[in-house]
Amino acid sequence: MKYAYYPGCSLEAGSAAYDKSVRAVLEQLGVELDELDDWNCCGATEYFSQNELVATSVIARNLALVDGEHDQLVAPCAACFLNLKKTDKLLSEQPVMKGKVDEALAAGGLSYRPGRVRVRHLLDMLYTDIGQEAIRAKVVQPLNGLRVAPYYGCQIVRPLNGFDNPEYPMKMDEMFEWLGAEVVDYPVKAHCCGGHMTQISEPEAFELIRRLLQSADEYQADVILCMCPMCQLNLDAYQGRVNGHFGTSFKLPIVFFTQLLGVALGIEMKKLGFGKELVSAEPVIRSKLDGSSVGAAT
């Protein structure tokens, strides 16, 4: 299997652990990722509301960069995924906009026909294309005994794509059940992480973050799994401030789901980017799992 890969800016900086673990896991699973040559910003959360035409053109450029050898583009960052997917849909539905975007692309010697590239989120690709059987076959360190709280955030099921239930997604839950983890079915798995509200009104953001932490804590999760750099940042980096604000004492490690998937596949923890998170995940993982076989495959 061969996919075009769009890492996005977060994975080059704050979420390097995500990028590292994605590459390690997919290598282990035998999936080839071809990073787009000269990709640019996905517009993040805000660009669309600033200038729709420019945002669409900028994002469409990435779609246009996917060469003829690939018809699927995988994005691990939920925001990148949403923007790419949304742009493809927009271009197919709005001929006027498409005309203008075509013009912009043509200026750079590019062109894009809506629908040519299927934009996939990494989780969808792993769950659907690789599938239970292939993943299970590669598990060397089952996650037995580890209580994980999958956290989906808001972007992965939009625009409605049939991959998972938009109100109550479950695919990551299922995947970690394949890996042997005790998955906590806590009720806020698709609630808001606060997003950029941390920059606008901290009390509001902290309240949203607290709800997530509290619920996961009540369900006795050992670790929260993220698939979005923004979510991971908010829950991890602001955890201390949230504790300070509310007088709570949460100490929940927040990792990317691929990091823990990598552990199950027996990849050495440092190759998966562990250690970059502020609330350290390694101790709880090692203590819950049979520490000796962690990283056994490498």
């Binding site: 109100e167 109550y168 479950m170 079915d185 009720p187 806020v188 609630h191 709800r211 009540e218």
Partner: protein, 676 residues
């Protein structure tokens, strides 16, 4: 001799005339189309004056063919056939042109609609010239009726017919008749005890001399047609000999295997491996559930057999096929409940104290697992607050777009029961309150008075994620209260989900067996939504109750009675007219190639090996015409839909496109051949 065709173009008030220039069409037909002797337009052709117009012209002008351009033939073909008959013209020499449903109602442009109307009229004129007089056929109607489904609609239909003196077979797939109504405690808006009004009807059916009750039985196959259906029914093995059982219940009492009853008790209570679904079951003959019976599992036990005073237990009993003959069939197969797990954010199956409405019906039923005590899943705690969520899977494009109709009233009823039996607060989360039958709105007002709280808004989620101490340990219903315009959180102890009413999962399959169709959702399609609500497109098959669409008890009963009345009418008349639209084989043209032989699903074509020809058995033919178009020798003729008629219709429809084929005729004269 050329035919004299009369053409009548209806205005239908402005229904047709508003979009089609009817005067112009009539004038055009009269002046330009060959063989048209009379062409008129008239305000309402279906009025008695309109019909008289046709009758008078037939008599006075000697019309030999009639074309009425008006609405769909499915509405008024009979009307105008009768008019022709009255005036002495064979009714099959009349053709209707549909210029309303197929034209004026669906096209915006007046010129285009008029042009189309002209083509359709032209097609009918050309066709009608080739139509032939036909005589309708009559068959005797078997006096017995099959009712499928022993819920309240089926029971009502059964009793109406049986009381009128006609034999009825009632088939029910469950071990007892009664249907969903037997599960309920009370009925809205009167708060009658459901069992009290249902069980008398059940026992009446059970004892009625005209009723043959077949419970724990499935419809296998239906053949034949109106008046004379042959039906095959699978009597599933009860493992209890029906005639020997006295219904004493010792077997049930002594059976050591308890299982969760997911059917009658909706998973709220248990039953035994040998069981009657509920105490008032009719018939009072238990069945053995072979999937949980210890004997069937590991060849041990046989306690029931040992203890049965009449030796009625038979472990070797097998399914049995029963063949019956009936004149009519009433489908009353009812509904199924929406699987509330499909809306995971409401927490059913994940959060213990989220209930489905059927579960709750059992919970507050005096004969239910808690003897009617409303308690949480722990079996002891009475809830202090209850939320009732409307439209779970209804009015939701992701599930069912339709309104289930009965849930608003059902939730008022459940709310009342909670208020009556507990001290709990009751919240009702609704989109719109729909209480539009007799005494329904009054019941709503009564509940308002009783203190039930109403929140207008679609519930976003039901969660146990508490945000403040007052929410700890509660189920929180998150909802935008659209009257207040604010997101609200309601911590409650219990949530009841009013799941949608859905068609039975096998409704489509059952419909196919009887030859009736379903809507996209799976509700049986009635012949006409307003004017023929219990008949179907298939003569002799009727529908009653919720299998036709969500319905409450009064409506189901009314439909059961209506269907019975229709059937009784057929039986009383004794004969049913069958359209003479059948196929026939010209034996001279038939070479006995046998292509047609297995094309008929009704086996109406037989092969005479001696004469080497195939023949149509007219009584079995339903007139689809498939064999007609399959005959390679062109030797099969379809009455009223013959090749000639259809070719003429095609030619007429394309009157403005068609030009005589080049070649023969006129042109032969046009080019001079040199003289000698």
């Amino acid at each position: 001799m050329a035919e004299k065709v009369g053409v009548y173009v209806c205005h239908c008030g402005s229904n047709i005339a508003g979009k089609v220039d009817v005067e112009d069409v009539a004038k055009w037909a009269g002046e330009k189309v060959k063989d048209v002797a009379v062409s008129r337009d008239y305000k309402f052709m279906c009025s008695s004056l309109g019909q008289k117009l046709v009758e008078d012209d037939i008599r006075e002008q000697g019309l030999t063919r009639v074309v009425v351009a008006a609405c769909s033939p499915h509405l008024h073909e009979k009307t105008f056939r009768r008019a022709c008959s009255n005036a002495g013209l064979n009714p099959y020499l009349m053709e209707m042109t549909n210029i309303r449903e197929h034209c004026s109602w669906v096209h915006k442009d007046r010129a285009a609609a008029t042009e189309k109307a002209r083509s359709l009229v032209s097609a009918s004129i050309e066709r009608v010239k080739f139509q032939e007089p036909l005589e309708p056929m009559f068959v005797d109607v078997n006096r017995a009726t099959l009712v499928i489904g022993g819920g309240i609609a089926g029971l009502q239909a059964t009793l109406e017919l049986a009381d009128a003196g006609y034999p009825v077979y009632l088939v029910e797939r469950q071990p007892s008749i009664g249907g969903h109504m037997a599960q309920f405690d009370k009925t809205f808006p009167t708060l009658d005890c459901s069992a009290c009004i249902l069980t008398p009807k059940m026992s009446e059916v059970g004892q009625h001399e005209n009723v043959t009750l077949l419970t724990y039985a499935e419809l296998e196959e239906v053949s034949g047609s109106v008046g004379n259906f042959k039906v095959r029914i699978r009597q599933k093995a009860r493992h209890v000999v029906f005639d020997d059982c006295t219904g004493c219940g010792i077997c049930v009492e002594k059976c050591p295997r308890k299982v969760l009853d997911t059917e009658f008790e909706a998973g709220m209570g248990n039953r035994k491996a040998i069981y009657m679904p509920f105490p008032q079951a009719v018939p009072r003959v238990p069945v053995i559930d072979t999937e949980s019976c210890i004997w069937f599992e590991r060849q041990k036990c046989r306690a029931c057999e040992k203890l049965c005073p009449t030796n009625a237990i038979d472990f070797d009993q097998e399914d049995e096929m029963i063949e019956i003959e009936v004149g009519n069939i009433i489908m009353a197969t009812g509904w199924d409940a929406f699987d509330t797990r499909k809306i995971p954010q409401y927490g059913y199956g994940r959060l213990a104290n989220v209930y489905t409405s059927l579960e709750f019906e059992r919970l507050c039923n005096a004969a239910g697992p808690t003897n009617g005590k409303i308690v949480l899943r722990d079996g002891k705690t009475e809830p202090k607050s209850v939320a009732i969520v409307h439209c779970v899977g209804s009015r939701d494009e992701r599930h069912n777009p339709y309104c289930s109709g009965i849930c608003c009233m059902a939730s008022l009823k459940l709310g009342h029961l909670v208020l009556e039996k507990t001290d709990a607060e009751v919240y009702s989360f609704y989109i719109d309150m729909r209480t539009n039958q007799k005494n329904y709105e009054e019941f709503y007002q009564r509940l308002l008075g009783e203190g039930m709280r109403f929140v207008r808004g679609k519930v976003a989620e039901v969660t146990d994620a508490a945000r403040k101490p007052s929410e700890q340990g509660k189920l929180i219903v998150q909802c935008e209260d659209t009257l207040v315009g604010r997101q609200q959180r309601f911590p409650v102890d219990m949530v009841i989900l009013m799941g949608a009413i859905e068609p039975q999962v096998d409704a489509r399959e059952m419909g196919l067996k009887c030859g009736i169709s379903c809507s996209m959702e799976g509700w049986y399609t009635e012949r006409h939504p307003k004017l023929d609500p219990v008949a179907t497109m298939t003569d002799g098959i009727f529908v009653a109750g919720a299998c036709q669409g969500p319905k409450d008890i009064p409506a189901s009963v009314a439909q059961g009675a209506a269907a019975a009345a229709r059937v009784a009418g057929m039986i009383t008349k004794g004969k049913v007219m069958i359209e003479p639209i059948v196929a026939s084989i010209d034996e001279e043209g038939c070479s006995g190639c046998r292509i047609c032989n297995n094309l008929c699903p009704y086996n109406a074509i037989e092969y005479d090996a001696e004469a080497k020809v195939s023949r149509v058995i007219t009584a079995l033919c339903k007139g689809c015409g498939t064999c007609v178009s399959a005959c390679p020798a062109g030797a099969i003729r379809g009455a009223h839909f013959s090749d000639r008629q259809i070719f003429a219709e095609i030619q007429g429809a394309l009157w403005d496109a068609w030009q005589p084929r080049g070649g023969a005729s006129e042109e032969a004269e046009a080019v001079p051949v040199s003289a000698p």
